[in-house]
C-alpha cells in the first residue's frame, strides 16, 4: 500500500517539476504516434475510400481481412518490421532498426487497418443515394470520393483518433523495433516496462499518469466527434 502511495506522490512530483527525462519520453511518444497516425491516415483513408467505391471480386473478403487486422497483435507487427529492417533483412541497408522511423513504420502498419476499415464503414454508412447523386452529377471517381469522405468526416476522424490511441498505447512493436534506447527510442510504454522491471515504480507511475491523460484526451476527442456524427445523422 505504502509502495503505491509513495510511488504516486513521487510520480506527481516528477510531473509537476517537469522532469526533463519524462518530458523527453512523452514528447517522443507523441511525435512517433502522431507521425504514424498521420502517415497511416494519408494512406489508409484513400485506400478505404477506393475499397468502398469500387465493386470488385473478393471485396467482402478484403473487408473481412481488414477488420480482422484491427486486432493485429503488436508483437507480430514488431516482429514483422524487425525482420524487414534488421541489417540482415530486405530493408537492412536503410539502417532503420532502433530508430524512431522504424517505430513509426511499425505503428503505421498497426493502425492502418483500423483507419481503412472505419473509412469503409463510415462511407458505407452514408445513404447510397449520396453516392448515386455524385455519380449522376457526373463526378469523376476522385471528386465523388472527396465529396463522400467529407460527408463521412466525423466517422473517419474518430477512427483516426482511435488509431492514435492504439498507437501511443502499444508497447510490443516499438519495443522490438525501437529497442527502448535511452534518449533515442524510449517511449512512454517501453519506459514503463523498463522502469517496472528496474523496480522504479515512481517513474513508471508518473509515465503511466501521462499515458492515461493522453488516453483520456483521445477518448474525449472520439466522444466529441461521435456527438457531431450523431447530430449529422439525426438532421
Amino acid at each position: 500500500m505504502g509502495e503505491i502511495s509513495d510511488g504516486f506522490i513521487e510520480a506527481v512530483t516528477l510531473i509537476v517539476t517537469l522532469n526533463p527525462e519524462i518530458l523527453e519520453i512523452a514528447g517522443r511518444s507523441l511525435y512517433v504516434s502522431v507521425a504514424a497516425t498521420l502517415v497511416a491516415a494519408l494512406v489508409a483513408i484513400p485506400l478505404g475510400a477506393l475499397i468502398y467505391y469500387y465493386d470488385f471480386r473478393g471485396k467482402r473478403a478484403v473487408i473481412n481481412i481488414v477488420q480482422t487486422l484491427y486486432a493485429l497483435p503488436t508483437v507480430i507487427v514488431g516482429l514483422l518490421v524487425y525482420l524487414l529492417v534488421s541489417y540482415s533483412g530486405p530493408l537492412g541497408s536503410l539502417n532503420l532498426l532502433y530508430t524512431t522511423n522504424a517505430m513509426i513504420i511499425a505503428q503505421v502498419i498497426l493502425v492502418s487497418p483500423l483507419i481503412i476499415g472505419f473509412t469503409v464503414a463510415g462511407l458505407t454508412g452514408l445513404d447510397k443515394e449520396m453516392k448515386y447523386t455524385t455519380l449522376a452529377l457526373n463526378a469523376r471517381a476522385y471528386r465523388a470520393l472527396l465529396t463522400l469522405v467529407r460527408e463521412a468526416k466525423f466517422a473517419i476522424l474518430s477512427a483516426v483518433v482511435l488509431a492514435f490511441g492504439r498507437a501511443i498505447a502499444e508497447v510490443g512493436a516499438v519495443m522490438m523495433v525501437g529497442g527502448n534506447i535511452r534518449h533515442f527510442t524510449r517511449t512512454l510504454t517501453t519506459a514503463i516496462t523498463l522502469n517496472t522491471s528496474m523496480g522504479d515504480f515512481a517513474m513508471s507511475i508518473a509515465l503511466g499518469i501521462i499515458l492515461l491523460t493522453i488516453a483520456l484526451i483521445v477518448n474525449l476527442g472520439v466522444n466529441v466527434l461521435q456527438h457531431y456524427n450523431g447530430r449529422v445523422k439525426d438532421e
Binding site: E129, Y132, T133, A136, L137, N138, T147
Partner: protein
C-alpha cells in the same frame, strides 16, 4: 414529335443470379415526358439508374443523344443528363454549395458557377435559402434544392425516381409544377418513376407499366388506365371490377349479367374473356337506371366512406364495387337494400382471357 433521344435494346440487370430487370426495349422522344409506373420492387429504380448510366447493365445496349453508350462516351453523355432520387440527398454544407456541386464537378469557373446557382435559385423561388445549411431545410424544401442542383447543370434528359414519394401533398404539387415548367421552358425530356398512377396521369405524355422487371404495357394514359392489356395491369391501375366471362349470342356475359355487345376489337371467335369496369364509371340508384345504359338490380352487401366518396358493394349476380361522390346524393345504403346499378356499354373493357 422529333427523333428518339434515348433508345434501349435488351437492357437487363441481375444481382447474383437474381434478375431485377429483365431484357426490355424502350424509345423516348425528345421533349417527351414518360412516366414509368409499377409496384415497388418492379425494377423501376434500377432501370432508371442504368439509363442514367450510373449503374452498369448486365446486358443490353443504350443509345443516347444518337451515340452508343460506351466506356468512352459515358461521361460525355452523363454530363448532359440529370437524376433526382426519392430520398432527398443534401450534403452537409450550404444550399448554394449543394446546388453548385455538379458545376464544380464540371470545372466551371467560380464566377460562372456563382451566377448560375444564383439564377436557378431565383428562378425556382429558393434564393432566401442560399446561405442556409442544407440540412436545416424541411423535406419539401430539401427536395426542391436537390432538384435545383440537377437543373443548374442544364440536363437534356432528366430522370426522376419517385421524386415526391416522401413529400406531403402541397410539396408534391409544387415540385410537379416545377417539373412541368422545366419540360415546357427547356424542352427537357423527362422520365419519371412513380407508383402514384394519378401522378403519372397528371404529368406524362406516355405511360410505361413495369412489372416483375419488364414493361408489360406502354401507351397513352387513356390506354393504360382504361384499356389495360391484362388483369394484372388492370388491378395495378385501380380497376376494381374485373370479372371472367364469356361470349354468348354476341353479348359479353358473366354470371347472367350481360355487360355489353362483343366489341369489334375482340378478334375472331374468342369464347372466354376478362371484363373490366372502373368503379367510378358505374351509376348507382335506389329507384332504377334510365337512359342508354345497361342496368341490373342487386342487393347492397356493404358500404363504406372513403374520403369524399362512398364505396358500395353490390351483389347483382357478379359482386360489383361502385364508387359515388357522397355529397351528391347524401344517400345511405344499408346492407340488404335493393338498388340498381348501370353503365354505358362503351366504358366496359373486354380482353380475351388467356389464362
Amino acid at each position: 414529335m422529333s427523333e428518339d433521344i434515348l433508345t434501349v435494346r435488351g437492357l437487363a440487370k441481375s444481382y447474383s443470379k437474381k434478375e431485377v430487370v429483365r431484357p426490355l426495349d424502350l424509345s423516348v422522344k425528345k421533349g417527351e415526358i414518360l412516366a414509368i409506373i409499377g409496384p415497388s420492387g418492379a425494377g423501376k429504380s434500377t432501370l432508371m439508374r442504368m439509363m442514367d448510366t450510373i449503374e452498369p447493365p448486365s446486358q443490353g445496349e443504350m443509345c443516347i443523344f444518337g451515340e452508343p453508350v460506351t466506356k468512352h462516351s459515358v461521361h460525355r453523355i452523363r454530363g448532359r443528363m440529370g437524376m433526382l432520387f426519392q430520398k432527398t440527398v443534401l450534403f452537409d454544407r450550404t444550399v448554394a454549395e449543394n446546388v453548385e456541386l455538379g458545376l464544380s464537378y464540371r470545372h466551371l469557373p467560380k464566377i460562372e458557377r456563382g451566377e448560375r446557382v444564383a439564377a436557378i435559385l431565383e428562378h425556382m423561388g429558393l434564393s432566401r435559402f442560399a446561405e442556409r445549411g442544407a440540412r436545416t431545410l424541411s423535406g419539401g424544401e430539401g427536395q426542391r434544392i436537390s432538384f435545383a442542383r440537377v437543373l443548374v447543370t442544364r440536363p437534356e434528359i432528366l430522370f426522376l425516381d419517385e421524386p415526391t414519394a416522401n413529400l406531403d401533398p402541397v410539396s408534391t404539387r409544387i415540385l410537379e409544377e416545377m417539373i412541368i415548367r422545366e419540360n415546357r421552358e427547356n424542352k427537357t425530356t423527362i422520365i419519371i418513376n412513380t407508383h402514384d398512377q394519378a401522378q403519372g396521369q397528371r404529368l406524362a405524355d406516355r405511360i410505361a407499366v413495369m412489372m416483375d422487371g419488364t414493361f408489360v404495357q406502354i401507351g397513352s394514359a387513356d390506354e393504360v388506365f382504361y384499356h389495360p392489356i391484362s388483369g394484372k395491369v388492370a388491378k395495378f391501375v385501380g380497376i376494381q371490377n374485373i370479372f371472367t366471362g364469356h361470349v354468348r349470342d354476341g353479348e359479353v356475359v358473366s354470371s347472367q349479367v350481360s355487360f355489353c355487345q362483343v366489341p369489334v376489337s375482340l378478334a375472331g371467335n374468342v369464347q372466354n374473356v376478362q371484363i373490366m369496369l372502373r368503379a367510378e364509371d358505374i351509376a348507382l340508384s335506389k329507384t332504377g337506371i334510365t337512359g342508354d345504359r345497361r342496368s341490373v338490380s342487386g342487393v347492397v352487401i356493404s358500404s363504406a366512406r372513403s374520403g369524399a366518396f362512398l364505396e358500395v358493394s353490390v351483389n347483382a349476380g357478379c359482386l360489383f364495387t361502385v364508387i359515388v361522390p357522397f355529397r351528391q346524393t347524401g344517400d345511405v345504403y344499408a346492407p340488404g337494400e335493393r338498388v340498381w346499378i348501370g353503365w354505358r356499354s362503351d366504358v366496359v373493357h373486354v380482353i380475351p382471357d388467356t389464362s
